[in-house]
């Protein structure tokens, strides 16, 4: 390795997915030089279907409707449906990159291997490009946007190794071909688990769906409108959480009805306390007998899967839709204030350990992701600008970062404690906080 060349001013952005692209655009708009590294040949990250770390499958559509999902300053085209397909999202990211001239700031097919702090709050970033040679450069700041929905979280069920059939993680699932003519057990009731159970219902011979608890399965449309748009009206009028929970349950009872009548377990928590599951078809297929609901797995014994209620299934294929964990292979955990198995960052962005290291996109919103990633990256840009132009404001903000890194943005709800809720945010609560951050750093006036 050669001595790092000194390119002190640019900001390094890691990843050109939904968050990385917003970072490049917003840092550029705030006047920063940017160099972004992307391991693939195209933008889009998770939405770049078929790429190594893409986790979308052939049928993936968004869970949140367009107004919540798009970048606020670059709306999705009118001809997109309410819930666009992943191919439309990739198209959208490509157009965003072209429209704002972002590609010339991105080095494609370049992997980030190491990110190390250097003297004076700057960073040495080692990358390996197309030619295979490692190169180290110095950056004024590093913005990590490598995504957190690609590294599979594997559950530990007793006897899983002894299973005689096939086991897949949903990360490996690309389309329904693997389901055809087989008996399938889908484990997990995240939005992916529910999508896969539905896909198995129309493709496989028999389907069991194992969930740890009962959930609130919200339909994608209520009253003829995308359900998140209906829900946001109540947020807009600042209806208290209790009222919103009551409205949610009443609407669900009136449209879907009593879930236990379908044989699904009764939810053991109130709405908005777990990550929302939006799926109109799961309950439908349960009602048609295409999906057999099952509780949590107890153990696996050769060909037999035993559930906690004592029932047994003999699937050919188990799909573990058990989620993903964040992974930063190029960066030591201490820099991100890693405690109890996860980074603890103020607003899931700012680490108390460094003034020039940021993470974007490390959130699990109850709404669309890219709107939030946009404002996250605007907040980072505003902070970087305040560091030079208004050191006093930046200093005050650092105080918050150090003391408030445990703050939860749940809109008043108490999140169920599981790894999938580590990064859970209620969009309105979280955006209000980002709004305050940006306006405080900008010294905003009307």
């Amino acid at each position: 390795m050669t001595a790092p060349e000194d390119v002190s001013s640019p900001v390094c952005v890691i990843g050109a997915g939904s968050s990385g692209l917003a970072a490049v655009k917003n840092l550029r708009e705030h006047g920063f030089a940017v160099e972004c590294f992307e391991r693939e040949e195209e933008v889009g990250g998770n939405w770049n279907f078929g790429a190594t770390n893409s986790r979308v499958y052939a049928s993936t559509h968004t869970i949140s409707s367009k107004p919540f999902t798009q970048y606020p300053d670059f709306p999705m085209p009118d001809h997109y449906p309410d819930y666009p397909h992943h191919s439309q999202l990739l198209e959208y990211f490509k157009r965003y990159a072209d429209h704002f001239g972002l590609r010339r700031h991105i080095r494609f097919a370049t992997r980030v291997e190491r990110v190390e702090p250097a003297q004076g709050g700057v960073w040495d970033v080692t990358v390996r490009g197309r030619d295979g040679a490692a190169r180290t450069r110095r950056y004024a700041a590093v913005l990590v946007a490598n995504g957190h929905n690609w590294y599979p979280k594997m559950p530990h069920y007793p006897g899983l190794d002894s299973f005689t059939g096939e086991v897949l993680h949903s990360a490996q699932y690309k389309g329904p071909e693997v389901l055809r003519g087989r008996t399938v057990l889908v484990v997990g009731a995240g939005n992916t688990g529910c999508d896969l159970a539905v896909e198995a219902a129309t493709n496989a011979e028999q389907v069991w769906h194992s969930t740890r608890r009962g959930y609130w399965y919200a339909p994608k449309f209520v009253f003829g409108r995308p359900s998140d748009q209906v829900a946001d009206f109540w947020l807009g009028v600042r209806a208290p959480l209790r009222l919103r929970q009551w409205l949610f349950k009443t609407t669900l009872r009136a449209t879907v009805g009593d879930l236990t009548r379908y044989g699904l377990p009764r939810p053991d928590h109130e709405p908005f306390e777990t990550h929302p599951i939006v799926n109109s078809q799961l309950v439908y297929h349960v009602g048609h007998g295409d999906i057999t609901p099952r509780p949590d797995l107890a153990q696996i014994d050769g060909a037999e899967v035993h559930f906690k209620d004592g029932s047994v299934a003999r699937p050919d294929l188990i799909i573990l839709a058990t989620g993903y964990l964040p992974k930063f292979s190029f960066l030591d955990h201490e820099h991100l204030n890693w405690t109890d198995g996860r980074p603890r960052l103020y607003q899931h962005i700012f680490t108390p350990k460094h003034e020039s290291l940021f993470v974007a996109g490390l959130i699990q919103p109850d709404s669309g992701q890219f709107t939030l990633a946009h404002w996250q990256t605007v907040a980072i840009a505003a902070y970087l600008r305040a560091r030079t132009e208004a050191p006093r404001r930046a200093h005050d903000f650092r105080g918050l970062v150090r003391t408030e890194s445990d703050r939860v943005f749940s809109g008043g709800a108490r999140y169920t404690d599981s790894t999938r809720h580590h990064f859970e945010v209620a969009h309105q609560d979280y955006l209000r906080s980002l709004e305050r951050t940006i306006n405080a750093l900008n010294g905003g006036r009307r």
Binding site: P75, H99, F233, Q428, R432, E435
Partner: protein, 271 residues
Amino acid sequence: MTRIKAVRPFEWAFPARPAERELISALPDGDTGKPPLLFVHSLAHGAWCFAEHWLGAAAERGFGAYAVSLRGHGGSSGGDRLRRTRLRDYVHDVIQAAATLPSQPVLIGHSLGALAVARALARYPARAAVLLAPVPPGQGVGLAVHLARVAPAAMARAVIGRTVPFRPEHLFHSSDAAVHLFRLGAESPLVQYQLALHRRPERPLGEPPVLVVGAGEDRLVPPRVLARTARFYGTDPVVIPDIGHDLMLDAGWERPLTTILDWVEALEEPA
């Protein structure tokens, strides 16, 4: 720095209805490195008013020139819902059209179109903006009073929810241009009310350069209203003499276009 607003629950809960928009363009040969121009028409007009002279002339000077028809106007859809159309739908149309262009355009709005552009600027980081004979960004009661004085019959019809019946002298200084009057269409009554009763737009995103252009013989937008608009953007209006409100159709249309294109060419390259 202006304050940002990230939480917009009512806009998310009630998004503008999708529409199919007519986008007329005239493009130069090859990439000239100049920003695209997006023209937005006024009350009861359509993209056709820019296609008449300006689009071709701008393309000849090396600009990718586009004009959008707002919903319910020209060749765009939405005529059947025009009576329920509001200003925010037009703002949506402007941003949707801007986002389809190859790069960030200079938004150029005329009269009512300038008001739509002024509001679009708060949602979309345009390269720059030009406001031609604009409806002022603040409330337009003063403008309404002025119009009631110069065109009382027209105003009376607007009040009862009919499209303002323009007369040639309202729009044109030269009588030759009066033929275009027959191409005017209908306008949304709600939008006509909003011309007088709209809230001040939020500040533009990214503080783009703004040029305010007035017409010397404008019967509809008087000089003091023009000056007020320019003040809102911290600039001085440029007034083109001997031309009527419809600067793109009236005799002498070359002069305002030259003023605009010279100004755009003099903009600094974005860093």
